[in-house]
């Protein structure tokens, strides 16, 4: 192990994993942008569906879990890093639930058919979800990598001491 790498690893003993933590927080920001954009679809009675209710609850849960995970990965807790990867996968999966359903749906009011979600809005909400997912994946991957590096380094220190 060269000196630079050793110092970089040693530094991790005293510094937080801010990159992962900040990425996790950024994923929350993109998620907020997502639900602000998606709830603009209020054409007819489609808006008041069970799907929307579940979506609201999930958004709240996602923000809570992402925030807790950001604190976890900040302290190199590998479990939280895996959890962020799962949250990222969840964000991708969501594209095929609410936005896709809304995009495919239409409502007829006074014999005129309207699409629930315009293409422009659909693209926007998918973009927010993708960015949120990318942040979660980034935070998770970096978190797993750094946590492993740190635990290996700490184990080597313990070995030296022993």
């Amino acid at each position: 192990m060269d000196e630079m790498k050793r110092v970089r690893l040693d530094r991790m003993r005293y510094t937080k994993n801010s990159l992962s933590s900040n990425l996790a927080l950024l994923s929350i920001v993109f998620n907020v942008l997502y639900f602000v954009s998606v709830y603009e679809s209020d054409v007819g009675s489609w808006y008041y569906s069970l799907l929307i209710g579940v979506s609201i609850v999930y958004n709240l849960l996602f923000m809570l879990m992402a925030f807790l995970s950001s604190e976890g990965v900040k302290n190199y807790r590998i479990g939280y890093a895996w959890f962020l990867l799962a949250l990222g996968a969840g964000q991708i999966a969501r594209i095929f639930i609410l936005p896709a359903s809304a995009y495919a749906a239409t409502v007829t009011i006074k014999k005129i058919t309207y699409p629930v979600m315009q293409t422009q809005q659909f693209v926007l909400v998918v973009l927010w979800l993708c960015l949120s997912a990318a942040c979660c994946f980034g935070a998770g991957v970096i978190g797993v990598r750094r946590s492993r590096m740190l635990s290996t380094y700490l184990a080597s220190l313990d070995e030296k001491r022993a």
Binding site: M4, V7, R8, D10, R11, R13, Y14, T15
Partner: protein
């Protein structure tokens, strides 16, 4: 490190109160200077002027020959340690120590090495992940010192860094500062009102009162040859005893006692014959078995020494308070009379309060 030159420094506040008058001092590279004096004497103001935290009203400040009188604090390459530590509560010890270097955008690996080196010097390696609130007062002060060390400044400034610590910690931290100075051989300016700190730490002491420098010298010079009554009374614990006496030819006389003068003292006090002067005697410069009768008021046994508080009874019934530090263990009772001898005397002009010294001393 650095030489500092303080030339005719004055500090006048906006409300026209003058805190420092004509302060002159040459600090040599690696020297440990302690500014000492009672509260409000201008010592902290002087230090803050050096740090750049107070504007200099008059005079010049030079660092290694370069005029930094008007330079902002950030450009002076000095690090200051405050009495209240000034640590960031939400940061760990490591982050607190690294903070100033992070602001300078130094390489994180270099910062890491510097922080670890400083922590090693100060014995903080095991505390690096802790927050300040988890540390004792002494440890927090060491963190504050560590934050100064990592910057590798030209000059270290300490503003009463031990005042918030209890007596035991103060002693331990004082020794650490002394070791730190020896290890870094850095130029240090240290402000305190505690004469013990001043005497134990300083290469040279600057004694101040009411904004004026009273004396600059080594700790021994200030203790042994104080330049005036203020320095004589301020340096030394218990403080020096003072008596107004009249110079009468071969002796000093007052209402309570009469002391014979030796040839040297006679020559020194010849200009004061027939006049009143102030006689100063340190409690530790007394011994049992002399001509001065002391009526004991209280007796404190300190182990090696006994501190006797009492009065010299004047002929006219007045009482002159006196404190004697006698070598050995004595059990005097209140009201007992003990005879003491003055082993070393200091003489002061009553009008000017300056020490009376032979020419060339």
């Amino acid at each position: 490190m650095a030489n500092i030159s303080l030339q005719h420094l004055d500090k006048i506040y906006d409300n026209h109160v003058q805190a420092v008058y004509d302060f002159n001092l040459e600090v040599k590279d690696g020297e440990f200077i302690v500014l000492v004096g009672p509260s409000g004497c201008g010592k902290s103001t002087t230090l803050r002027m050096v740090a750049g935290l107070e504007d200099i009203s008059g005079g010049r400040l030079l660092l290694d020959g370069e005029d930094i009188t008007a330079a902002p604090a950030k450009d002076r390459d000095m690090a200051m340690v405050f009495q209240n530590y000034a640590l960031y509560g939400h940061m760990t010890v490591y982050e607190n120590m690294a903070f100033s270097l992070t602001l300078r955008k130094e390489d994180p690996n270099v910062i890491h090495k510097k922080v670890l080196a400083a922590a090693e010097i100060l014995g903080l390696t095991d505390q690096l992940n802790k927050k300040p609130k988890q540390l004792s007062g002494g440890q927090r002060q060491r963190v504050a010192m560590g934050r100064a060390i990592v910057r590798s400044p030209k000059v270290f400034l300490f503003d009463e860094p031990l005042s918030n610590l209890d007596a035991k910690l103060r002693g331990a931290t004082r020794r650490e500062i002394l070791l730190l100075h020896k290890r870094l051989n850095a130029t240090m300016l240290y402000v305190t009102h505690d004469q013990t700190e001043a005497l134990t730490l300083a290469d040279r002491i600057v004694c101040m009162s009411m904004g004026h420098v009273q004396q600059i010298g080594t700790p021994l010079e200030l203790y042994d040859t104080p330049s005036n009554l203020f320095v004589a009374s301020f340096i030394g614990l218990p403080p020096m005893n003072f008596f107004t006496v009249k110079v009468e030819g071969a002796c000093l006389a007052c209402a309570g006692f009469s002391l014979a003068l030796d040839e040297k003292e006679k020559a020194l006090l010849a200009p004061y014959r027939g006049k009143e002067i102030v006689l100063g005697v340190r409690p530790e410069n007394m011994a049992e078995g002399g001509d001065v009768c002391v009526r004991v008021f209280s007796n404190e046994n300190l182990g090696m020494n006994t501190l006797v508080h009492g009065h010299i009874m004047a002929d006219n019934g007045d009482k002159m308070p006196i404190t004697c530090k006698l070598r050995g263990w004595y059990d005097f009772k209140a009201g007992d009379t003990v005879k003491v001898a003055f082993l070393k005397k200091h003489f002061f002009d009553q009008k000017t309060t300056n020490a009376i010294r032979a020419k060339g001393e």
